[in-house]
Symmetry: C2
Subunit: 213 residues, 2 copies
DNA sequence: TAGATTGTTAATCGATTAACAATC
DNA sequence: TAGATTGTTAATCGATTAACAATC
């Protein structure tokens, strides 16, 4: 699949939501779906749904709507979920283990290969997931196909791990440490900052007082 | 503090980033800071920094910039971090325990009060955090000042917990389940969906092939 | 066919950026 | 004072929404 121009971040972040929505509809036995239905579920406009899809192609039929199975498959492919990804996790704390144990990821092609830490006697990983010392990181990455590095360490170490991952040729970093890791030409990054999320919630909680009506 | 008009989501989500940036600068011993400095650290424009701040007041001085301590205190207040929040966590899995154990939250006034689950023999919580059966949720909320309910269950239960939390008068929900919980007049919600984050990363990883140059 | 709904073009809205007077 | 930098107004840019021809 080829598309005309780079897709804006706003659109990209809606794609997983469409995917989730379609999965739910499929589970409910729905066979076809209109942009209006999707828009109501996701609380956006039907116009936006159609605009978003049209960035990637023509998936519907006038007067009919979208075939659910077909549309879902298309979006799945757009997200790249039809491929397999090798994932390593750095940091064997609660977040790291949460990721390691979330089996549903495997349905979408994410294979958790290993969890790295400096201390790991206490770490219980699911079967098939190796537990290794961080010193073995480079060696492991060389010998295995690692596409994604999830970083769940504290921020002090997160940056150096990211550096190491980039050097090893890992092209995607999923960062949970409360610090920004920057993208470069060879590496895409998704920063997921729990602090910022909580603080945003906190702002909203107080906003009623702050904002005059 | 009172402000003129509702602040857009884009601005709100930058506020915690400013706050983090200022904390780092403070730790580095910086005493005053300009919008340009901040903009370079956060990879945005100086214009945007000043526009964002000006939504909430005038915190700087022409020709000088911003006094770091003062500005940081202002943003802290804007985020509502000068208050105390009672937090309960529903779901004693890895994510739930990650939240329960992240002590740094207490520095910003978040008091983790309890973790709820249906099975909890295995749960080790830090001292001061109660571990309770979900059946005791209502009672606990009645008897304690609970401001924020973090939901870390699987999606099947997440919705009913959210419903229950709303009924009990909890006005902020921090949701980690892969489902959208909707805001209403009395309840603000922050949905933090790990799946969507991973899928977004995945899109970006493949985007180079997808997007023609 | 008539009704429904897409894909797309045009209009609107809002957010970002640029520019600059005010002033420390 | 001269240089620096804010806060704000105006210009630009981009994203969302509306409208509608195409057509199933």
């Amino acid at each position: 699949m080829k598309i005309k121009k780079p897709i804006s971040d706003a659109v990209v972040r809606r794609m997983p939501r469409y995917y989730r929505c379609l999965k739910e509809l499929e589970r409910a036995g729905v066979k076809r779906v209109s942009s209006t239905t999707i828009s109501e579920i996701l609380n956006i406009t039907a116009s936006q749904v159609r605009q978003d899809f049209s960035n990637f192609g023509e998936f519907g039929q006038q007067g009919y709507g979208y075939d659910l199975v077909y549309l879902k498959a298309q979006i799945r492919a757009i997200l790249g979920l039809d491929k397999e990804y090798g994932v390593v996790i750095v940091g064997g704390g609660h977040i790291g283990l949460a990721l390691a144990n979330y089996e549903k990821y495997s349905r979408e092609g994410f294979r958790i290969l290993a969890v790295f830490d400096v201390k790991f006697d206490h770490i219980k990983a699911p079967r098939g997931v190796e537990i290794l010392h961080i010193d073995e990181f480079e060696k492991f990455v060389e010998e295995n196909k690692v596409d994604i590095c999830a970083i769940t360490t504290q921020k002090e170490t997160a940056l150096s791990i990211a550096e190491k991952a980039k050097e090893c040729g890992i092209s995607a970093i999923w960062n949970f440490a409360p610090i920004d890791i920057h993208e470069d030409d060879n590496t895409v990054v998704e920063n997921l900052n729990l602090n910022e999320s909580l603080f945003t919630l906190c702002y909203k909680l107080n906003a009623k007082e702050l904002e005059e009506v």
